[in-house]
Amino acid sequence: MMRRWRIQAIALALVCAALAAPPGSRPARAQSGTPVQLWVDTRTGQVFIRPGAHRVRLSMPGVITEDQLNRQVEEKVEQKTQALQSQISQQQSVNASLAQQNAALNQQVAQMKPAWTNFADNFMNKFSLGTLWYFDYAMYTHPSFGPQFLTQINQPGPGNEIFNSFDLSRAYLNFLFTPTKDITVRVTPNVYRAIGSASNDKVGASGAWGTSLDGNLGYRLKYSYVQFNTLFDSIKSMKGTTIKLGVLPNGWVPWEEDLYGYRFVNLTPWNYYSLASGQAGIAIAGPIKSGEKTYVDYELGVYNNSSFHAFEQTNTKETIDRVTIYPFGALWRFDGLGISGLYNYGYGNVTPDLANIPAALKGPQSHIERLAALVAYTTETWQLAGEFDYGHNAFNVGNMFSGSGPGDAFGIPTCVTTPAATSEAACTGAGGTVVHYPGWYDVTTLSQALLNNGRAAEEGFAFFGHYHVPNTPLTVFGMFNWWQPNIHVDKNPFDFQRWVVGVAYQYNEYLRFALDTQNVHYYHSQFAFPLAEALSFNNKAVYSPIAKANGAITGPVFPDMHSIFLNVEFSY
């Protein structure tokens, strides 16, 4: 007991000594990193600074080593660090959860659309807008009189070599609205060229404004109709049959344009001669199918006698009907062998009271008939087609000179006269003039007699086709027409052949180019048309004194026409 007390006393003294030690001595010990260690002899209770026999390390309560202290500090720091890391982890998971919730919310907000957006989307799905655009550069090495190569294109007559022009010949805007699958509404305006010098306007007492109509490119309605799509869908073989009502593409011209495929270059035969592509009326069109293949394709319609760009004046109507038979079945439009027929019967577009008035030139009042038989073989790489055309009163003077014609055909005299009282007749039609040069007066009068007499019969042949050059975007195409405007004439100076040859370059799915040549060949050699024969077609016709003196109309054959075109087509 005594010994234990002694040990405790010594230890206390040592602690006091240690605490009382000068401040400068403690840093040195701390810096050494080795604390003071003492050993006590268990027998004597003596304290030593070195270990030895019967000595044990002196343990002083409350005194800890630096290592212990460091460990304790490290443990506490580690505990706090772990606690912080745990908090951070929890916060991170909370943040991730919040971010996820936020993303879901954003997605929901993004998906939330106002009612009008839904309506607009549905509306746009039922509405489609397209365009079809034709543009060309034409150079006429030898311009002449004749029908239009393309609508909205006109060239001057003979003697204007190398006339050239940029032309915009089509600018469709196709609006199609399908509110339900049963009905489609189509509105297609198209560009047209205004021709005709309207009179100038007087403004005020001494002023005037010049007319701005002639030559303008304006817009007019080409097609506008409602189409019923599903009336026959219950009959499987007639599924796809439609009924159209309005200003329609008729069953022949647009169909043949689509078959030919190069409408942006030139017109198809009956369209080139006289038949417009659209009229107001009603039509039924559709396929007759068996399985996937179409065996019959037809369009039957009743229309105004006037075209889409004229007033209707008759109390009758015309019918334009087409039937195409695919003997081996067509997997796609025009596929394989197709045999087609056109029947068109109508009347000249004049009012009934005028139609009944006796006239020498009954052409405009008489019936009009057009027939065509066409055989075509079409594959995805080539096509060959042959067509026979026959008509009655289907090619009048207006058609003959739709591209360019003698001034006399449009009421503008080309003859050279001097006033005199001795002339029996004059090229102007009024008495009292002497003709020095008839110009185109006699030829125009002859054309009216041969083409507008109300008994004219036309006949023609046409061939067309194309061949796609493999591994290239190029396709060679061509069309040949032989046209006899009145087969009742022994030798008709207005007989002609048209031929078009070119190469098309398919740039992409929207754009196509073509370089081609278009020509009209009045193939009869120049001759003098007997006046007696001319009078047999219209005995009321008045020819110039020169023609009467000669007993013939000289120089009735027009010069040939040759041209080079660069055509562009854009379709979207």
């Binding site: 807008l129 593409p249 647009p254 409408r263 995805e380 796609h468 740039y507 992409n508 799915e509 379709s571």
Partner: protein
Amino acid sequence: MLKSIETGAGAAGSLRGAPPRRRWMLAAGGLCLAVLMISAAPGLAAGKNHNTAKYWKGKNISEATKKLGEPTQMTPLSETGGTLYIFAHPGEQHWVFETDAGGKIVKAAKVE
């Protein structure tokens, strides 16, 4: 005496106690069923197969050009306001598409 229930449980299972022939039949039947289910999926039947006409209907013509290249011939259709496209590249599958005025394919034909 306690008896293990292991054998009885195995016998109640489908295969462990079955003879090898029956096991093969069951496996073959399962395989057939899986194949039938996969092939009947509408997505695989026509929707995702570029080589069917059904796949192309309703798509825009620009998607066809991405897959098939530029058309060899384009014919705007006056009758409908749409366009007829022919893809006839040598050595490749030939296609004919008909679109509406907005460029959406409404008819498709694979030319054999």
